[in-house]
């Protein structure tokens, strides 16, 4: 948005060519999702967007009921838009600049799901935790006995 003022480029409604076709693409994908369950992802970095078009697109999609955040190698923002089944996924790096942005048409973005590898590690960690607690308990009782 700032770049517009900065470069004095005037973008009127009639000149934003990409927003309309993109929304059509989203509509098709949503229909597909409902009918066949097939999901789709659109990479906004692969589309030659004019200044301000991305913002326009995001504004059009709006915000719906779900708003989630990640904290994995920098933050991520996962929003269900006001169109159910259409998600906006934005990844940031640790310096808070956007590194990628997708529109996902799905019931639930995969990135939010807990991952098997992480769960395995979590299980290990939890077991370790419990084990160390037992040791601690045991130590505690031993020390108590010592006393």
């Amino acid at each position: 948005m700032n770049s517009r003022a900065q470069f004095n480029i005037q973008i009127g409604d009639e000149l934003t060519w990409n927003v309309q076709p993109l929304l059509h693409e989203v509509r098709h994908a949503l229909k597909q999702l409902i009918e066949t369950g097939e999901t789709a992802i659109i990479d906004l970095r692969s589309i030659p967007l004019a200044p301000g078009e991305e913002q326009k697109l995001i504004d059009t999609l709006g915000e719906g009921e779900v708003h989630a955040g990640l904290n994995a190698l920098g933050p991520s923002e996962i929003i269900e838009t006001r169109f159910s089944g259409v998600w906006l996924v934005t990844h940031y790096n640790e310096e808070n600049s956007i590194i990628s942005r997708f529109i996902e048409i799905t019931e639930f973005p995969d990135i939010l799901k807990s991952q098997r590898e992480d769960m395995n590690e979590a299980l290990d960690a939890l077991e370790q935790q419990l084990a160390s607690n037992q040791i601690a308990d045991a130590a505690h009782t031993t020390s108590e006995a010592d006393q």
Binding site: S3, N8, L15, N18, P48, G74, N93, S100, I111, R116
Partner: protein
């Protein structure tokens, strides 16, 4: 050093996991990588799988006749996480701008990396190579050509970063005083990936590295050695200002109404129609903008000889020479020749008139 050498045998997945990076973070990294490599999001699972299995390659980076702009571009990249990850997983064994070691130690590091990874290491080159006087550019007393040829011997592949390494670039521009040539002019027996641009888009550099790392193979290249995935389409064909070109709406000067309205910059000399690069989609500074978006015509920096293309501000269709002057001379010559031929014709016609024999009724019979 011990951890480093043990890490060399680990896959990328293992390295990341050992650094405590979660699977979710890895997936986020893969998503960003896919986007960076201009691959469709459907490829994300494949990328994840490939990256997990990928092994950490040794990289030797040579800089010749260059301005360090390419390295600057790479290191000033804003998507720090990704690049850091990449450089975390590659073993950048020699880069005389970035490495801490200098002098004999630096050269020793290069030799060591070459020996240790013979046939497997990746050689990255920025800058062109002078073929005139070898003294034009040397490192540690070794001429650029010698160092290039020596290092290339054991390389699995060569990545020429920047237009200088890819096509000779600015040092190669007329009159090319140093006899500068590109990497591919000298090396004929190794796969070479050209990553041109002055400088190349940082994520394109890392994208190419990542792609090589991920899939362990040379990506599909165009006729002049560029990965099609980044250089497959002309700027013009992906430019958001293209609809103005199609409607015939052009900025005529840098400060007219057309310029303010963001119309097509063709008439201001934009080389978008003949330039292949990812600027229009990937953009610069983390997707913020690119020259055309900033109101300046494309210079065509990722094309060979872009410096000699007849002027940055001369529209592509316009002849590069002064045709008006030529036409004036040609007109004079044409008229002179026409008059000369005309006089000759007149002379011939007069001769015919002189040779005319009266035709009488008696001459009519054959």
């Amino acid at each position: 050093m011990t951890t480093d050498s043990s890490r060399k045998d680990m896959t990328l997945g293992e390295v990341l996991r050992s650094q405590g990076i979660s699977r979710r973070s890895f997936l986020k990294f893969c998503a960003a990588t896919a986007s960076m490599m201009a691959l469709p999001p459907a490829m994300i699972p494949k990328i994840a799988q490939a990256l997990e299995q990928a092994r950490r390659p040794s990289v030797i980076w040579l800089s010749f006749q260059e301005c360090t702009g390419c390295t600057e571009s790479l290191t000033r990249s804003h998507s720090a996480t990704i690049e850091h990850l990449i450089f975390d997983v590659i073993s950048l064994d020699y880069h005389h701008t970035l490495q801490a070691a200098s002098g004999d130690h630096a050269e020793a590091a290069r030799k060591a990396a070459m020996e240790e990874n013979y046939g497997k290491y990746l050689m990255v080159v920025d800058g062109s190579i002078p073929t005139g006087n070898p003294g034009y550019s040397t490192i540690a007393g070794i001429s650029n050509v010698d160092m290039l040829m020596e290092t290339a011997k054991g390389a699995a592949a060569v990545i020429a970063v920047g237009t200088c390494a890819s096509y000779g670039g600015i040092p190669h521009a007329k009159p090319n005083p140093t006899g500068a040539v590109s990497v591919s002019d000298l090396i004929k027996d190794k796969p070479i990936i050209n990553v041109p641009g002055c400088p190349p888009i940082p994520v394109v550099i890392t994208g190419v590295l990542t792609q090589y790392l991920t899939f362990g193979a040379i990506p599909e290249l165009d006729d002049i050695g560029r990965p099609k995935v980044f250089y497959g389409q002309a700027i013009h064909d992906r430019c958001y200002r293209r609809p103005f070109y199609d409607k015939g709406l052009f900025a005529e000067t840098f400060d007219d109404e057309g310029a303010k309205k963001g119309w097509c910059l063709y008439k201001l000399g934009c080389k978008g129609p003949t330039t292949y690069n990812a600027c229009a989609t990937t953009k610069w500074n983390n997707g913020t903008s690119f020259p055309i978006e900033a109101g300046h015509p494309c210079l065509g920096c990722s094309q060979p000889d872009f410096w000699d293309g007849g002027g940055f501000y001369k529209a592509l269709s316009i002849p590069t020479e002064d045709i008006t002057r030529d036409i004036i001379y040609a007109s004079a010559a044409g008229i002179a020749a026409g008059v000369a031929v005309g006089v000759m014709n007149k002379t011939r016609k007069n001769a015919a008139k002189k040779a005319h024999q009266k035709t009488t009724i008696d001459d009519l019979e054959k």
